[in-house]
Amino acid sequence: MRTSVRTSLRYLLLAAIAVVVLFPIYITVVNALLPVQLIGHRPPVLFPSHPLWSDFSQAWSGGSLSQYLRTSAIVSISITVGSVATSVLAAYAFAFLEFPLKRVLFGLCLATLMVPAEVTIIPNYRTIQVFGWFDTYPALIVPFVASGLGIFLFRQSFRQLPRELRDAAVLDGYGHWRFLLRVVLPLNRPMLSAFAIFAWLGAWNQYLWPLLVTNTDARRTVQVGLRQLEGLSVSAPNVVFAGTILAALPIFAVLFLFQRQLVRGLTAGAVKG
């Protein structure tokens, strides 16, 4: 009897936390489904009796949301693919090849971890201007196609491979490229996907840099687009709510699909195992 009371209390606690965590998202969804005159109604409407889906279509087609989302998708996927590729290559060299200045170069890779992008925006902004990249995809992508963290994580992961696997491949006539493609990459899939999802999340959520280097709707990412959207909060608040939900949906979908990789990526280095 006593244990069942405790279990009930436990569920009550969990439910209370869930309500607090979810409420801001929930109320945004509710408002997105209300007709505009019911937003800000007193007492507030907490459940939409006649959900209205038109706000979503309005937010989708009326604003530039679909454009923002497309830009964000292109940028974040390019950054993910690019940083995984450059990191895999560099990490392979650091893990399997001997070359002069190897330690120095690896030290420099680690050093980049200490230089957050926020610190270097001023010269980088000028560089983008000099390259003629202002308000283009390269401006949003190229500065982030290399990752010191990726190189570090992949090198650690690659070095876990037994040396005898490499020896066997050498005897079997497999050069570095084929060894990389046929053996190293397949065997390091967990680490690759964890880093990829982590890199994607970071790229998707960027705010300051896209704000600096874009000035037209065609190149604004969805995060910066939300800033434009926020400006509508007085004239069309329902569109703001619907737009916010639409902006958040892709990331919900991706993270739901890749939960395991995400957790592994986020906790890499923080918790052993």
């Binding site: 037994p162 005898e164 066997a168 005897l171 006539g173 497999y174 053996v183």
Partner: protein, 358 residues
């Protein structure tokens, strides 16, 4: 594939501060099963890696067949290697693992399939071809590693402690299987191990290395019966040969060696007689091991001598005083250089006749 001779010619391999191989010259004849034996770190694995081309020797050269291969890529040396950890690719099925070496060599699919099937059949792997290495037992993995070496039909097999990750029973089984495999293929085998039982049972000849230096090459009978020096004498034979200072029997400047099975308690008169006290008796069923402390007033410590008695003899009791008499060969080694004096020819007349303590 015709088996080839494999020859190391004054090969020296130096790492930053250590000398892994010191001017090693050694030949495995075509079709021979040559065992490289020695304690860990003696350079035997380095020798194998130099032959495979995985390491470049500091000096000296390697010859496979009639070709000097120093500038030949490992994959073109036509040798296959079996690793201690098996080095199977965990993400590939057994079939893909076995055919892995063939895929890089542009061998026609039909020929590839034939070879994989043959190798799998000869190692009883046909039922396992679609499994992943993680689903196999240690012995099965070992077989896959062997199959992967066989499909290449190489001129020589290089095996680096291939049985040391197996449990004792499997090791005996695989030993027999390897011998059988060698007889069937007739390929030259260079086999590295630290286990002298493996060396004695499998090798046509044994090359014993210590600290990068070749100590002796010979048939199992040779290295057991005519050890070149103290190191070989102590390394070959289980339990190891008893070695004690010649002072005990009135012979200065030499180390005396008698194998445990060549001692009797009391009994017949022999060239070596020692008064001792029994300090430990181990009865193994098929034989007894008796450890005895030798009375040695002239020495700072009393040497321990191990005697191996057949099960038919009843062992002495603990603390009993006994007289140890050598009933078999007595070896004499120079106590400075460790060289077997009989083989060195210096005291040929004296060796074995026991002059001086009759």
């Amino acid at each position: 594939m015709t088996p080839a001779a494999v020859r190391l010619e004054s090969v020296t391999k130096r790492y930053a501060s250590t000398l892994a191989l010191s001017s090693l010259t050694l030949t495995a004849e075509p079709g021979e099963f040559l065992v490289l034996l020695g304690p860990s770190g003696c350079g035997k694995s380095t020798a194998l890696r130099v032959i495979a081309g995985l390491e470049r020797p500091t000096s000296g050269s390697v010859r496979i067949g009639d070709r000097i291969v120093d500038d030949v890529e490992p994959k073109d040396r036509d040798v296959a290697m079996v690793f201690q950890s098996y080095a199977l690719y965990p993400h590939l099925s057994v079939r893909r693992n076995i055919e892995f070496p063939l895929r890089s060599r542009h061998i026609a699919a039909s020929e590839r399939d034939r070879r994989v099937t043959d190798a799998a059949r000869s190692l009883q792997l046909e039922q396992l071809l679609d499994r992943k290495p993680a689903q196999l037992s240690g012995g099965q993995r070992q077989r896959v590693a062997l199959a992967r070496a066989i499909v290449r039909e190489p001129k020589a097999f290089l095996m680096d402690e291939p049985l040391s990750n197996l449990d004792a029973r499997l090791r005996v089984e695989m030993r027999a299987e390897l011998i059988e495999l060698h007889r069937r293929t007739g390929t030259t085998v260079l086999y590295v191990t630290h286990d002298q039982v493996e060396a004695m049972t499998m090798g046509d000849r044994i090359a014993i290395l210590n600290e990068g230096v070749l100590q002796q090459v010979g048939t199992p009978k040779d290295v057991y019966g005519r050890p070149a020096n103290v190191f070989v004498a102590g390394f070959i034979g289980s339990p190891p040969m008893n070695l004690f200072p010649g002072e005990l029997v009135g012979e200065d400047g030499v180390t005396i060696g008698v194998r445990p099975e060549d001692f009797t308690l009391g009994g017949a008169a022999g060239p070596v007689k020692l008064a001792a006290q029994v300090s430990l008796v181990e009865s193994l069923g098929h034989e007894h091991h008796v450890a005895c402390r030798v009375a040695a007033p002239s020495l700072s410590s009393e040497p321990l001598v191990l005697v191996r008695l057949p099960a038919s003899v009843s062992p002495p009791s603990l603390g009993e005083g006994v007289t140890l008499a050598a009933s078999g060969p007595v070896f004499r080694f120079d106590s400075e250089s460790g060289v077997n004096l009989e083989l060195a020819g210096k005291t040929g007349a004296a060796a074995g006749d026991g002059s001086g303590f009759r």
